[in-house]
């Protein structure tokens, strides 16, 4: 056992972090699919020789807490047949993957012929085979209708490309860019490998091992200290999931019992409803990621992200529930069960830590378009990231964040740049602005939602929608109000309006059709009558709150000419 140099522990933690950031930059700069390079729907990380997380950079955290478990699975799967120069692909949701489209690359890192660590990354690929381009198939009931399954498979062995394996995989995927983007994922792992080897070469393997273990312990201590600040007890929360894509009107419940016992926290989902017969099902890792990322928003945001952080967190999700479907159920929607899962956790803990939780966030409702860009005679697929980003829930002392998007990304996923959007798709952007009165009122209001309209530019475009939040709005807390609903309408050139469902597949959409989307706001926190009247007046002047809402929701009367608060009338309105 080498002696621990506590200072070196701090240094190594910083170094791991900066390596995963370097990996992230490399991936963002080289990928082609806008889902990856513009929206950054990917995660990069380093793991120790046993597959335990050293550090991660999580642009979209919902992907991220499955990289470690899969790494452990790969270790078991290959046993002693892991060699320097190997590159392993994985997406299989029945061996700890989180979503079929999230395809991971694992690269073992060897130092003097000894496995010392892993570099890994995982990104949402533009296509992964299956029935529907882009992967979201609301009609699917089994995994094969959704995707090509990639249990761990070596695409390189001992540094040599297995051309036949590579070709087999990409023969089953629609778009050429997916192969290019997987090359970029491999490049990112090479960047991680270079960085980690530099550390091991400098300090030696024994120091690396012992200091890494010490770092895990220190982080575990930090998380335990956070848990200790939550009163002991068992807290119950629930949330609804609407529509499985196949049975109109269907509804499912997520139920969680959260038990806090000194330094340990247990999330028990045993009472959650059974799995659906559609694709609205979670996998264990997608659901557990949702739990972890929601909980991380309630503790010190400055904590290192490694194995120690998750040790005091126990998660129980019985197989066969909507959050942990059994083989071979369809699960592509599973990542998007994060928002209702988060709602159940927030509701459970609201009374225990009212100053640290937020009101409800806008739930994801997303769409994608695929087809042929007739300007270039080339295929395109585009997830409409810029349309999906609603508001976050307010918290004590702080308004919700406007146009942030689903809680599983928390502002880590970006809008496409407008001009790049028009270069890369045939569409014409008509509107992308804050949606007035979309935020839940409160002493601290929810974040604003947005309105997005664009004209579809090519005939025979296929439209897919997936998400929620069209039945129940984001909820307010402690007197704060609920917000507004999501919706996506297609307005055809003949003015016919098609109202999409929250899990829909619409084919043969003609050019000239207008995509009209509303992403709702976040829930408010606290009594709106206590909100600063001057702030309300300023928001009326800026057109994000109407005169009517100022009056009806906030009891603030704003002069229509000067936008000043009418103090007297406001005082009267607020008293009544």
């Amino acid at each position: 056992m080498t002696e621990i140099d506590k200072i070196l522990v701090s240094v190594l933690q910083r170094r791991f972090k900066s390596i995963t950031e370097e990996m992230s930059i490399a991936l963002a700069r080289t990928t082609r699919s806008p889902i990856l390079c513009e929206a950054k729907d990917f995660v990069t990380g380093l793991y120790d020789a046993r597959g335990k997380m050293l550090e991660q950079t999580e642009n979209l955290p919902i992907l991220s807490f499955s990289l470690g478990p899969v790494c452990e699975y790969i270790l078991k799967y290959y046993g002693d047949e892991i060699y320097p120069g190997d590159v392993i692909f994985h997406n299989d949701v029945f061996s700890m993957g989180n979503q079929n489209n999230d395809v991971a690359v694992y690269k073992p890192i060897f130092y003097r012929d000894k496995l010392v660590a892993w570099a890994a990354c995982k990104g949402h690929q533009a296509d992964i085979g299956g029935n529907v381009a882009g992967g979201y198939n609301p009609n699917a009931t089994e995994v094969w209708q959704e995707a090509l399954r990639i249990p761990p498979v070596k695409v390189y062995e001992k540094g040599k490309l297995r051309k036949d394996v590579w070709d087999l995989i990409f023969a089953n995927i629609r778009y050429d860019i997916v192969a290019e983007d997987m090359r970029a994922e491999i490049g990112s792992c090479v960047v991680g490998e270079r960085g980690l080897l530099a550390i091991v070469e400098k300090y030696g393997i024994d120091v690396f091992e012992s200091h890494k273990d010490y770092l895990f312990q220190a982080t575990e201590k930090m998380m335990k200290a956070e848990i200790r600040t939550i009163p002991n007890g068992t807290y119950h929360g629930e949330a609804n999931v609407y529509y499985d894509g196949r049975h109109p009107g269907s509804r499912f419940k997520i139920r969680v019992d959260i038990t806090v016992r000194d330094e340990e926290i247990i999330f028990d989902y045993s009472e959650t409803d059974p799995q659906t017969n559609g694709f609205v099902n979670g996998t264990f890792t997608s659901s557990a990621s949702a739990t972890v990322l929601t909980f991380l928003q309630m503790v010190n945001p400055d904590m290192p992200h490694n194995d120690g952080m998750i040790r005091p967190i126990k998660i129980i999700i019985p197989e066969g529930t909507i959050l942990n479907a059994s083989y071979p159920k369809a699960t592509t929607f599973g990542n998007h069960l994060c928002p209702p899962n988060a709602d159940s956790i927030i509701r459970a803990l609201a009374s225990a830590i009212p100053e640290r939780i937020t009101a409800g966030w806008n739930q994801l409702l997303c769409g994608l378009t695929t087809g042929t860009d007739q300007r270039k005679n080339a295929k395109f697929v585009d997830i409409v990231f810029l349309g999906l980003k609603g508001g976050s829930g307010a918290t004590k002392g702080v308004d919700g964040y406007d146009h942030i998007g689903m809680i599983d990304a928390s502002g880590g996923v970006l809008d496409q740049d407008y001009e790049m959007f028009e270069q890369q798709t045939p569409h014409l952007l008509l509107e992308h602005e804050y949606w007035r009165d979309s935020a839940g009122a409160g002493q601290y209001r929810g974040g604003l939602g947005i309105i997005t309209k664009f004209m579809i530019g090519s005939d025979d475009t296929t439209v897919v929608t997936f998400g929620d939040g069209d039945v129940e709005p984001a909820f307010g807390l402690f007197g704060g109000k609920d917000s507004t609903l999501n919706k996506i309408n297609l307005i055809y050139p003949d003015d016919r309006v098609y109202k999409t469902t929250s899990k829909d597949l619409v084919e043969n959409v003609p050019a000239g059709t207008v995509w009209s989307q509303r992403a709702g706001g976040g829930g408010g926190y606290g009594d709106p009558l206590k909100r600063s009247a001057a702030v309300v007046a300023e928001e009326v002047r800026n057109g994000i709150i109407s005169f009517e809402s100022a009056k009806n929701d906030y009891g603030v009367i704003v002069d229509p000419d000067t936008y000043e608060v009418d103090e007297e009338a406001t005082g009267r309105a607020r008293r009544e």
Binding site: V9, S10, R14, R183, A218, I404, E422, L429
Partner: protein, 699 residues
């Protein structure tokens, strides 16, 4: 005579360079309300020390190069002009949305940045161009006139115009600008297609607004400064420092105010080139450690790296600027213990007020400077030449109570830990400009500036395995020195999105000619003769369907010959170096996005005065000995202390040692040796690699 003037938050630094090569340093207090007052005070002090009137003195000054933070401060403190924005109807919130990013994902108390233009002054205009720049909807002039009405009622002082896809066709922006010029004469106006005609709407709208927001302030400051200089009879040339490391005439700066937004540290890399090129280096890394922040930059082939993805206060600034990385680490960085029991340093800083505990001005939290004092790197009686006595006991007590006791360490061990952690933070800043961009820091000499920099230099270099460190004679006023060494520089960009096999070579060459003509015009107004003009051609390239580009420089010959193949050869290896692979073998097509041209007007540089050779023995500079902590030995040792002013050309000092000057103290660790060069700068190199480096110092 030439004068470099760097206006900082606390002090305004001056470097006065005489025609015979001698130079002198001046520092006066800054006057934030009107920085030109402090500037004039400095000039007055200079004339006073020469027993001349200000008027007689200024007649002998040929050039003043001036770096100013007035625009930077206006953005950081929201004190810029009240600005109105005209933008395409339906898209007016792009400015505030910032593409929907929340930088701290797990922090629900983290708020968005307040926009520089509030929503009610972001006026939607009916008009539309498609992705190629073809008109879909004509501009509705009535909308512009209505916006003007609002702007007048609201007393708007500056206007920004940015329409969708205007990078491809500027006619709508021009049409709107005509109306603004006519209806709001004299108001500051920025047209996006003039300032930054390149693709990416958010980048362009944010940059355009920044320009209008700071424009009026810079303009009135520069008008006030030039009139003050006129009044005292200055007839030389005044030049302003830009964020891209070049200088520019005040008239041009007034119209493109955003080019000065990150000019503060921009002169550092230029100075770094000057100090390393003397020894024959083409590459170097420069670092500048101040009170709260640490700036690092990398220079290759005597050219600093440029980025177009900069930010100020989380707002995108897409003009070319030096790729300087700033880390929250400085003499004032505070040490603390996190919940897991690990030691951290910064980013909170004690600043200059109350300052570190040892300043004895009310600071309670132990800072980096306190640790430096405990470890013996600073002399409590010779800080700032003895002007500021340091309170050793208080520093000791603070470290004991807040760090050492919590870690179960001695005070010395805790201070050593603070020293080590902050060095590691700074080293990661250096890694960011080097490793993250695919460069190996071990191949670069490290140029270290700033008051506290030389105390930490050896250990930063040690962590990165950098064998040679250069500490310039003017390290405490590094940026003022760099300003005198900067050239005039104008950057241009045009977007031409096309696959390489589809490029219309005539259009390609015409766009470059256009930019060149514009550069020549500007440089001729700055009185630069054509033989002193240089051009740097570059292309932003990517593999087809990628989203992000790699900037690759190309030669004028390749552009003029129109040989597309030779234009693309530099791209593949650069992609591989940066991202771990290239697709050259696969034959993946490459596409062009932007064309860039920098036009550089070479200025006369000050000469460095050479000292006479003084032999290797530093004995006459020997001041005494003191107890200093040696990190590699993990204990205190008695080591030699030298007076930096008495070291002459050729003197060699072996580590471990301390070299003291008024504004800096240099800690030489046992594995390094210092050679004082003929210009009064120190070169420190690893003793066991002396053969590689000594020759450069004494050649």
């Amino acid at each position: 005579m030439k004068i470099g003037i760097d206006v900082g938050g606390t002090f305004t630094d001056f470097l006065l360079a005489e025609n015979d090569g001698t130079s002198s340093i001046y520092k006066v207090l800054s006057t934030p309300r009107d920085p030109s007052v402090g500037l004039l005070n400095g000039l007055r002090e200079m004339s006073g020390t020469r027993k001349m009137t200000l008027e007689d003195f200024i007649k002998e000054v040929d050039i003043i190069v001036h770096g100013t933070t007035v625009t930077t401060n206006a953005v950081l403190t929201y004190t810029g002009a009240k600005t109105g924005l005209l933008t395409t109807k339906g898209l007016r919130d792009a400015l505030e949305m910032r593409r929907g990013i929340r930088e701290e994902q797990y922090n629900n108390r983290y708020t968005n940045v307040k926009p520089l233009v509030p929503r009610y002054l972001r006026q939607p205009i009916e008009e539309r161009l498609d992705y190629k720049g073809d008109v879909i909807t004509d501009l509705v002039e009535e909308d512009v006139r209505e916006a003007v009405q609002t702007f007048r009622e609201e007393n708007v002082e500056a206007v920004a115009i940015c329409f969708m896809n205007s990078f491809a066709n500027k006619t709508h922006e021009e049409q709107a600008a005509e109306i603004i010029r006519k209806e709001m004469p004299g108001k500051y106006l920025t047209v996006s297609a003039d300032l930054l005609p390149s693709i990416r709407f958010y980048d362009r709208i944010s940059t355009t607004v920044l320009n209008s927001y700071v424009g009026p302030i810079l303009k009135s400051y520069l008008l006030s400064l030039t009139s003050k200089l006129d009044d005292i009879g200055f007839s030389g040339v005044l030049l302003i420092m830009q964020s891209n490391g070049g200088v520019i005439s005040p008239d041009i700066a007034m119209d493109n105010a955003a080019v000065t937004l990150l000019s503060g540290p921009a002169a550092g890399p230029v100075a770094g080139i000057a100090y390393t090129s003397i020894q024959g280096y083409d590459d170097c890394i420069t670092v500048d450690m101040g009170g709260t922040s640490f700036d690092a930059a990398l220079i290759r082939n005597r050219t600093p790296l440029i980025t177009t993805e900069g930010e100020i206060n989380r707002l995108r600034l897409a003009l070319p600027m030096l790729g300087i990385v700033t880390v929250g680490a400085g003499g004032g960085s505070i040490g603390w213990i996190d919940e897991g029991g690990l030691l951290r340093m910064g980013p909170q800083s004690a600043g200059s007020l109350p300052g570190p505990v040892c300043y004895d001005c009310g600071g309670k939290k132990p800072a980096c400077t306190d640790a430096d004092l405990i470890l013996g790197y600073l002399d409590k009686d010779f800080f700032a030449g003895g002007k500021i006595p340091l309170n050793y006991e208080k520093a000791r007590a603070a470290i004991k109570e807040q760090i050492a006791d919590k870690l179960n360490y001695s005070v010395e061990e805790a201070a050593a830990g603070m020293y080590s952690v902050i060095n590691s933070n700074m080293a990661s800043g250096v890694r960011e400009v080097s490793v993250k961009r695919g460069f190996d820091p071990r191949e670069f000499p490290l140029v270290v500036a700033g008051g506290a920099g030389p105390i930490h230099a050896c250990e930063i270099a040690h962590e990165l395995e950098i064998p040679v460190i250069i500490i310039p004679k003017e390290s405490s006023i590094f940026c003022a020195a760099g300003m005198l060494m900067s050239d005039l520089k104008h950057d241009f960009v045009r977007t031409y999105a096309a696959s390489f096999d589809e490029i219309d070579i005539e259009r390609f060459q015409k766009l470059f000619r256009e930019m060149e003509a514009e550069g020549n015009r500007l440089l001729s107004t700055e009185k630069i003769p054509s033989e002193r003009i240089e051009y740097r051609f570059a292309l932003d390239l990517r593999y087809v369907k990628q989203y992000h580009e790699v900037t690759v420089s190309v030669t004028r010959e390749a552009v003029e010959k129109g040989n597309l193949e030779s234009l693309v050869t530099g791209f593949h290896p650069e992609h591989n170096r940066l991202y771990g692979y290239s697709l050259e073998k696969e034959g993946t097509p490459v596409e062009l996005i932007n064309m860039r041209l920098s036009c550089i007007g070479r200025t006369d540089k000050p000469k460095f005065l050479e000292e006479d050779f003084d032999g290797a023995d530093p004995a006459k500079a020997f001041k005494g000995t003191r107890e200093v902590y040696i990190p590699s030995a993990r204990k205190f040792q008695t080591i030699n202390v030298y007076d930096g002013f008495k070291l002459g050309y050729g003197n060699m000092v072996d580590g471990p040692a301390i070299i003291e000057q008024v504004n800096t103290s240099t800690f030489v660790t046992p594995d390094y040796r210092v050679a004082s060069d003929r210009y009064g700068s120190y070169t420190m190199y690893l003793k066991d690699r002396e053969e590689e480096f000594k020759g450069r110092v004494f050649k």
